[in-house]
Amino acid sequence: MELSTLSLKEIGDALRKKTVSAREITGVFLERINRFNPELNAFVTVAEEEALAAADEADHRLARGERVTPLTGIPVAVADTICTKGLKTTCASRMLANFIPPYDATVVSRLKEAGAVIIAKTNSDEFGAGTTTGYSAFGPVRNPWDKNREPGGDGGAAAVAAGLAPLAVSFDTGGSLRRAAAFCGVAGLKPAYGSVSRYGLAALAPSLEQIGPLARRVDDLALLYQVLAGPDPLDATSLPADGPGRGGEELTGPAASGKGLRIGLPREYFTGDKLQAAVKERVLAAAGIITGEGGEQVDLTLPSTEYALAAHILLAAAEASSSLARYDGVRYGYRSPEAADIDLLYKKTRTEGFGSEAKRRILLGTLVLSAGSYNDYYLNAQKIRTLVIREFAEAFTKCHLILTPVTREVPGRAGEERSPLRQYQDECYTVGANLAGLSGLSVPCGLVDGLPVGVQLLAPAGREALLFQAARTLEAAVGEFSPPILRG
């Protein structure tokens, strides 16, 4: 039995029939991690001991016939920006290289309650700021499809694609989770704003980011999402229990037909000359598959798309400069050893602890929030955000879901020198969902030059069931594909 390729349901069935134990499952993935992670660098920390203890606990639950969930005994990799009690949480930063949180993030508590096994902490850009993992203090992640290609801005997708963990939990501020899913050929969801608690996530841009799931199959993605999502009194921006998307609809099940389904295709997302022709072709083919015979494709225009990325760059930087102000060397994290007075302590600590992209965002954010630039940059960006929200809301009265590319191209060469602006522009198709607080699901739609391509499905909060359904339709038609390493 190739455990690394099974679905959650298949693993769950095997666990309940006792043909395999949770300890054995965790053991298989730990072995794969030992074998493949040194070259992929998807993880900052592997929690071998803790994972085996959690697996034993799951085995006890199963042996005693206690309540089990679809995640009982299932290994999950968690982003290293998400706090795990007693387990090092570095945010891929030198600043937190030795930080051991004294508490769990809410999503981690929810995973533990569901009986999941936290197996490792995933690498990313420092504090999630970047698009290629090139800004990690612990070295970049490699793409399991081709180690000379970049993996997107998050190691969770690479880990899942390579079968180092069946599931991963990451976060998405401008598209890192979705781009990584697309580039590594797995499914990933940036949930609607407020649907998943951010308590215990090291903040980078609090008004834009959400924690979300990654999985090789859409049904598994939905099962993990259901464990993560829910109201949380510890997060004041968490949607209440009776809010949109809290209906508890069935998110897994057979692929539905496209009858009556209206899929919107925003022109602005298909016209740029930077959009690789073969990628565009795959994405449009995906639209045809999802609408099927009974559905309809709706031509849309979202005119503020032209300004959306610029607004996102400015807002993300402004929020980052504020969020990263807490790292001052006093209460936790790195402290510079050579600090004679308090001002030097702040300055040396921050200068030595932060990497280049974090510093760049802090400087840009400090600029756009300063008195002379606030109105020109920050305030205009917030107004553009209003336009973006309005245009999406209007669009969703004409269609059920919106479909776009996730990326302009297939994954680029690893380590390629590109200016910060060029890297920000990588996220041109994904920032809209962060600005407007929409759900954005990235699902594979085929290969170009032997590398995976993703399609993005957007929906407002409350339309999750339809979103997963459409993704499943596409998944069923495209069929399964995986990098050779998965079966290696």
Binding site: T237, A310, G333, L345, Y346, R385, T386
Partner: protein, 97 residues
């Protein structure tokens, strides 16, 4: 908009960061390029549009004012780079006398 090197150094000072001359030059160059692009927000048709302050229509999320267990003093101090007698220790802030 061009972000001059001196301005980059000033921003670093405000943000409690040290930058070398080379770094200041590099940030100035890179952020000028970013601002050239992002500057288009000033040309957007936002006349009369309200800024988005918050995504969710939530107001005043209240909870009962009850004391609940959180971190103990020891747990709160566990990651302190330096500590003394149950406090975070920092270099002297006040002058003597």
């Amino acid at each position: 908009m061009k972000l001059e090197k001196e301005k980059a150094k000033h921003l670093a000072e405000l943000a409690r960061l040290e930058v070398s001359e080379e770094e200041a030059a590099e940030f100035s160059h890179q952020l000028s390029e970013v601002l050239d692009y992002a500057g288009k927000v000033r040309e957007a048709p936002v006349e009369g549009v309200e800024p988005t302050i918050h995504l969710l229509p939530l107001t005043n999320v209240f909870r009962d004012d009850e004391v609940k267990p959180f971190l103990t003093r020891e747990e709160a101090l566990v990651n302190a780079p330096r500590r003394e007698e149950g406090f975070f220790r920092v270099p002297r802030i006040l002058e003597e006398n």
